[in-house]
Amino acid sequence: MNHGDSLIRLEAVHKWFGTLHVLKGVDLTVEGGEVLVIIGPSGSGKSTLLQTINLLEEPTEGRVLFEGRDITDVRSNLDEVRTHIGMVFQAFNLFPHMTALRNVTIALRKVLRLSEEEASERAMQELRHVGLEHKADAYPGQLSGGQQQRVAIARSLAMRPKLMLFDEVTSALDPELIQEVLDVMGRLAEEGMTMVVVTHEMGFAREVGTRMIFMDDGVILEEGSPREMFASPRHKRTQSFLSRLL
């Protein structure tokens, strides 16, 4: 990483699913320490945009740079890049046949090749971080949605990523379980983690976000500080979107 390279840089990213044009030329940079919040109506391309950052979705056109390296280059080692970018999903996606502890250690063992003791120690540390060390031996099916999502966060954090991606992580949760997950995310932000967060939680966006973008129909329509955007959205569609939510 050369001095001055952004952590993430998207350049003119397009994504087609067949004939469906989902991302229409997105430029975006994420700097270390930022908490970037992405909002927008469903179908606007937010999740696709998030998944192009770690190339779970490959851009049809354009480049993605991680610390100045072009990771859309076919010769890049994506598996290695992804160890530096954590991702948490709407549907948790814990491995249901593994205990919470094993969910966290599996990649430490098989990808980072840590020893069993090292992996377990680090996993317990991260489970403690999300307040679930007492659930280490529980299977995902025995945990509430909120607990599952916190295990998923611990699983990503255990890789010691430089960046965390959150894809509508509270959307599948019962209302009373949302806060415990938001609390963990808020704490992460305080600790200085770089985060890109797709969310409908406007309270969280305002309190925790350092920057916010509004997406609609595959393009970034507006960008600014969350407080400014909530107070005086410039674009008409941003206005109508926010007025429907607030």
Partner: protein, 353 residues
């Protein structure tokens, strides 16, 4: 008219005992025809076979058949007419069950009456129920059952190995990788196993003079055939795992194969146990087709033993023994796998459900 309807309803309102009587009658009728016939047959002996015919046409058997026919009919009619009018749910259930049992008694009794009236029933009984011929083949049927199990298990083991590998190839994004897998699957699913056995044994093995016995060839061909079906089962199982599982594994830096190995396949394996079981039970029965290859005496599976015994005795009773031998093998398999399935299900309900 209306008065009659009301009176019928009132009468039935008090007739809970009628429903119980219907149930008892139906059960008694079915019990009489099944157990009565069996008891008569056993009491008077099955060997020599002439006794079977004598028992079936005896006065006592006539009594059993007509009694159960009448009882069954009565239960059927009473249950069918009365069940809608029964005042409570248990009474209604009893009436329906009584009618069902009665119907079965009628079918069995009617069949036996028809059967024993056949003009050549004596020939049939001599051909199929001459149990005295079985004695000398009992040992051979045990060996046959053993060989059936060996052929099926070895074939299934090969099939699972091939199936898993081919399923992964068939799931490739790349046409060049998918194409050979699809060709293999389609060819072996699309041609009869009987053809495959004869072509690959008589054509390839004998034709090319390979140093392979019929038994070994049978195992390999059964395995290759099972592999095609197993590949489709695995493919469906892998596809049934939510896409998010792969995404989560890849987001942690796992390679495609690591994600398969640690995240996807363990879940897919559990899901495919039921369809894989069905494949296996089918394979057990399909081993009968190796009768075509001409196995040596000690290598013969159940159907070969049955056929040889038939040809030796000019009697068809061994065919019945063959069916019994297959059931002895398949029923415990079905049972074992049901138990296994239940244990997996209770242990990790999330995965299977």
């Amino acid at each position: 008219m209306e008065a009659i309807r009301v009176r019928t309803r009132d009468w039935f309102a008090d007739q809970v005992p009628v429903s119980l009587a219907t149930l008892a009658l139906g059960a008694a009728a079915l019990g009489t025809v099944l157990l009565g016939t069996l008891a008569l047959l056993l009491a008077r002996g099955l060997i020599p076979h002439e006794r079977i015919l004598r028992t079936l046409t005896s006065e006592a058997q006539s009594g059993v058949l007509y009694a159960s026919l009448a009882g069954g009919l009565l239960a059927l009619v009473a249950g069918a007419v009365g069940y809608r009018r029964m005042p409570t749910r248990p009474a209604r259930e009893a009436a329906v069950s009584g009618a069902a049992l009665g119907a079965q008694a009628v079918v069995v009794a009617a069949f036996l009456l028809w059967f024993r009236s056949g003009e050549t029933v004596d020939v049939f009984i001599r051909q199929f129920f001459r149990f005295e011929v079985l004695g000398e083949f009992a040992r051979q049927f045990v060996t046959g059952a053993k060989n059936t199990v060996i052929l099926a298990m070895a074939g299934e083991a090969i099939g699972i190995g091939i199936g898993l590998a081919v399923a992964l190839l068939a799931l490739s994004r790349r046409m060049a990788v998918r194409a050979p897998a699809r060709t293999y699957i389609n060819f072996f699913r699309g041609t009869p196993l009987l053809w495959q056995l004869s072509f690959f044994y008589f054509g390839i093995v004998l034709g090319l003079g390979l140093d392979v016995t019929a038994y070994q060839a049978a195992i390999v061909i059964l395995g290759i055939n099972a592999g095609a079906y197993t590949a489709e089962v695995f493919r469906a199982g892998i596809l049934s795992i939510e896409r998010g599982q792969m995404k989560a594994a890849r987001s942690l830096g796992m390679s495609y194969f690591q994600a398969m190995r640690y995240a996807i396949l363990p879940q897919a394996f559990r899901r495919v146990i039921p369809p894989l079981t069905n494949e296996f039970i089918t394979l057990i029965k399909d081993t009968s087709l190796v009768v075509l290859l001409g196995l040596t005496f000690g290598e013969r599976e159940i159907l070969s033993v049955a056929r040889d015994a038939y040809q030796e005795t000019f009697n068809a009773t061994p065919w019945l023994a063959g069916a019994a031998a297959y059931l002895v093998v398949t029923l415990p398999m079905i049972r074992i796998v049901t138990m296994l399935e239940r244990r997996l299900r209770s242990g990790l309900a999330v995965i299977v459900g």
